[in-house]
């Protein structure tokens, strides 16, 4: 019964920023099949609706971990769900980050785009560089946790700093332009607003990284997760099925078209 969600109970809720919270969900009875990094679930708030939310950690104990930014009625209801609340989940849906054979990993995230990339960080024995950007220091996700990831070189940058911010100010493309990396060994994973991904990819291509070494996570309206509602079309793709993660050779012509 693909339309009937599986009940999960909120067992922990961590406030990440002024508009984002991470929920840990434990199955009430049956659990969903395992998720891979990059995939998403359709999360259902009783009586309000259902939205696609990426998996943002994979603890391996049957729980689902999702970081939710409140941007509309449904995401607000999910974001506000206190421990004990039962919500519905369907999934796993979509494509995953392709990590087979990856050598050096370069992860670039903008805003909430860090959430679907978090399961990749610190779980590979590879050299990993993370560049994460946000509008302001208050919008940066997982700040404390990122500081503790010894296997990841982390660069944080914000569009607008404040009195307590002593880090970088500017777009993620700036550190990307000067970062040392080996184009023959590096795989780049990008997730964030479309213009950000476009400019990051352009910078990386300019520095000699082959297009097929870049993966992006794309977003469109999604209402079913199973390829039957039609909302998530992006040109030839049904993003709930053919995405959200795609190689840049596929994404490049789609991202350059207006209103596609």
């Amino acid at each position: 019964m693909t339309w009937v969600p599986t009940p999960y109970r909120v067992v922990a809720r961590t406030v990440e920023t002024h508009d984002s919270a991470t929920l840990t969900l434990r199955p009430v009875a049956e659990s969903l099949p395992g998720f891979r990094p990059g995939q998403f679930a359709m999360l259902y708030a009783h009586g309000v609706g259902e939205v696609p939310i990426s998996i943002s950690a994979i603890p391996g104990d049957g729980t689902l971990v999702h970081t939710i930014r409140a941007v509309g009625a449904v995401s607000r209801a999910l974001h506000d769900a206190e421990p004990g609340t039962v919500i519905g989940a369907r999934g796993p849906f979509g494509t995953a980050w392709q990590l087979d054979g990856v050598e050096d990993l370069l992860v670039v995230a903008g805003g909430i785009g860090l959430a679907p990339l978090r399961p990749v960080l610190g779980h590979l024995s590879k050299r990993t560089v993370l560049i994460a950007g946000a509008r302001t220091p208050q919008d940066l996700l997982y700040k404390d946790e990122l500081g503790q990831l010894s296997s990841v070189d982390t660069v944080l940058t914000v569009d607008h700093g404040d009195h307590d911010w002593h880090g970088r100010v500017g777009f993620v493309t700036e550190p990307l332009a000067s970062l040392p990396f080996d184009p023959e060994r590096t795989t780049a994973l990008l997730c964030g607003p479309e213009p950000m991904m476009r400019f990051c990819a352009r910078t990386l291509l300019g520095r000699g990284l082959a297009p097929d070494r870049i993966q992006v996570s794309l977003e469109r309206n999604m209402q079913c997760g199973i390829g039957v509602c039609g909302h998530c079309q992006l040109g030839p793709l049904l993003l709930c099925r053919d995405g959200p993660v795609t190689g840049y050779p596929t994404a490049r012509p789609l991202l350059s078209a207006k209103e596609l």
Binding site: N221, Q223, H231, L260
Partner: protein, 358 residues
């Protein structure tokens, strides 16, 4: 593939056999000055002697000079409304959990399904799934002015998927139907209908009538790879030219027998119970492509391009086939009379001259 011949009383008997087996027989019915689709209980319910006059943005029923019951082309409705209803409850949610809903779809027998619509049923069911209906096809011998099924490879002869195919003929020997079974189930039903065995002449005449229909198509798509055309024409200024006429009303998507898009929404009652339901949606709705921050496709040009590109081009990428069957409904029911075959022709001319990148 046994064939037999019966008259109107045999057609009535066929309806009776299908009903006796517990099927809801849906067929053409004259109602509200249109040939609609609704339950038919006997052959007398069929629109005997009614045809249609059809064109871009134009549809009128007209009196025929004979008593043909299948002498009309695609009407405002399609079989989509039965296989993929405009509104369907998906699940319910209450304090005890989430619940599946009972599938109360009747066991349908569709009577008078044209070749274009038979192809459409296949394309639609590939996406929406669900139980297969029993199909009595009506081969087309009299295409309408907006028809172009031949271009799309979907007619006028009924393709695979029917249980029984009928070819209606009226001449000096009277009104009769050549019936051919396409499945064992169809043959079993036909065996219960009083009829005479078909002779080679019956079959030859039917083939001749259907062949003639192929030559009488009202319209045609340009002869080129439509998928390539739409991919190459993505940035054409032609989309702006269509948008000047397009009202973005979504009529084309509602009448299209394959447009399957739905929006999903919750309905709650005062006791705190909720139902989740889908309803037909259209890519012409501004909210269809909504992401936080706004809709992706706001201009009429982008929305028309999405519809036509999906129908003729990217449907291939997503489902391995075209989304168009050439029924012509989108042409007839467009209030601005926008003609998909004409727009494809203009686009192909534009692209031939090197494109016109906006």
């Amino acid at each position: 593939m046994a064939s037999q011949v019966f008259d109107l009383s045999g057609l009535d008997a066929l309806i009776g056999v299908l009903r006796a087996d517990g099927r809801v027989v849906v067929g053409p019915l004259l109602r509200d000055d249109a040939i609609t689709l609704a339950e038919v209980k006997s052959a007398t319910d069929l629109p005997s002697g009614w045809g249609v006059e059809i064109g871009p943005g134009h549809y009128r029923v007209r009196r025929r000079t004979d008593t043909a019951v299948f002498g009309h082309s695609a009407g405002p409705q399609s079989w989509k409304r039965f296989l993929h209803p405009p509104h369907r409850t998906l699940m319910s949610s209450d304090s005890s959990g989430f619940h599946a809903v009972q599938d109360d779809t009747p066991d349908y027998a569709f009577l008078g399904v044209r070749a274009c619509d038979l192809a459409a049923i296949g394309k639609l069911r590939q996406i929406t799934g669900g139980r297969a209906p029993f199909v009595v096809a009506a081969q087309c011998t009299e295409p309408g002015e907006v028809c172009f099924c031949t271009s799309m490879g979907c007619g006028p002869a009924a393709g695979p998927g029917y249980d029984i195919a009928l070819t209606e003929r009226i001449d000096e020997q009277g009104q009769r139907f050549l019936a051919t079974s396409g499945t064992a189930e169809g043959a079993a039903v036909l065996a219960r209908v009083p009829a005479r065995e078909a002779v080679p002449e019956d079959i030859a005449l039917a083939e001749q009538d259907v062949d003639a229909a192929a030559r009488n198509m009202g319209r045609a798509m340009p002869e080129l790879d439509l998928r390539d055309l739409l991919a190459a024409g993505r940035d054409s200024a032609h989309w702006e030219a269509v948008a000047e006429r397009c009202l973005t009303c979504g009529n084309c998507t509602m009448v299209c027998p394959t447009c399957f898009c739905v929006s999903v929404e919750d309905h709650t009652d005062l006791d705190g119970n909720a139902e989740r339901a889908q309803r037909w949606a259209s890519c012409f709705e501004i909210d269809f492509s909504y992401l936080h921050g706004g809709a992706v496709r706001t201009s009429g040009a982008a929305r028309y391009r999405q519809w036509m590109t999906h129908k003729l081009g990217t449907w291939h990428d997503q489902f391995g086939t075209s989304g168009c069957v050439g029924c012509g409904r989108c042409i007839a029911w467009c209030p601005a009379g926008i003609d998909i075959t004409e727009e494809a022709a203009v686009l192909s001319q534009t692209m031939k001259h090197g494109g016109d990148r906006r």
